[in-house]
Subunit: 104 residues, 2 copies
């Protein structure tokens, strides 16, 4: 058993990605951000669907249609495969812990 | 976008199950308990793997080997397919919100 709020990475200058479950069907990942955002030109364009849930802090997603989506703890959102998106903001004051479930 | 802590069911006499994501590959479900436990004789014996995460309250799982596993917020656990288990306790004082990811 693990706790998603424990063993947060000490290095807050990087965003951290950790697989919790990895199988052929699904991958469940914890992402910990400390104010990071995606590079200006860097859009995620993924082959898999990604369902995200914010567990602490907050994050703001931008989609290539211009839509912004702010997620606070408990907010969740399905990013369908091929929907270009990036993270434009995460909380600078505390760890933003995301849970992401990737599947095809 | 939905928030897993919002729109909690008003009827606290029943356990509530709500699909958040449902696809061929994966099903993500919110479960809200209010002190409920599984019936004494009722073991879950599932064809799918179930990864569970407690988001509020607490829950205690029992496995047919006798092992007990108490989950507080942030605790997560993978229940492999075919591993018989039941819920022996959930918080009587507040809603226990579980996230469950089912996959094969």
């Amino acid at each position: 058993m693990i706790n998603v709020f424990e063993n947060l990475p000490e290095n807050t200058e990087l965003e951290h990605f950790q697989d919790i479950v990895k199988s052929d069907a699904v991958r469940i990942e914890r992402i910990v951000s400390h104010g990071q955002s995606s590079p200006e030109e860097g859009w995620y364009d993924q082959d898999e669907h990604e369902w995200v849930l914010v567990l602490s802090g907050y994050g703001v997603l931008e989609f290539d249609c211009g839509k912004l989506c702010q997620l606070k703890p408990g907010d969740c959102f399905l990013i369908e495969a091929g929907r270009k998106h990036r993270v434009v903001e995460t909380s600078p004051k505390e760890a933003t812990v995301w849970l992401a479930v990737f599947y095809r």
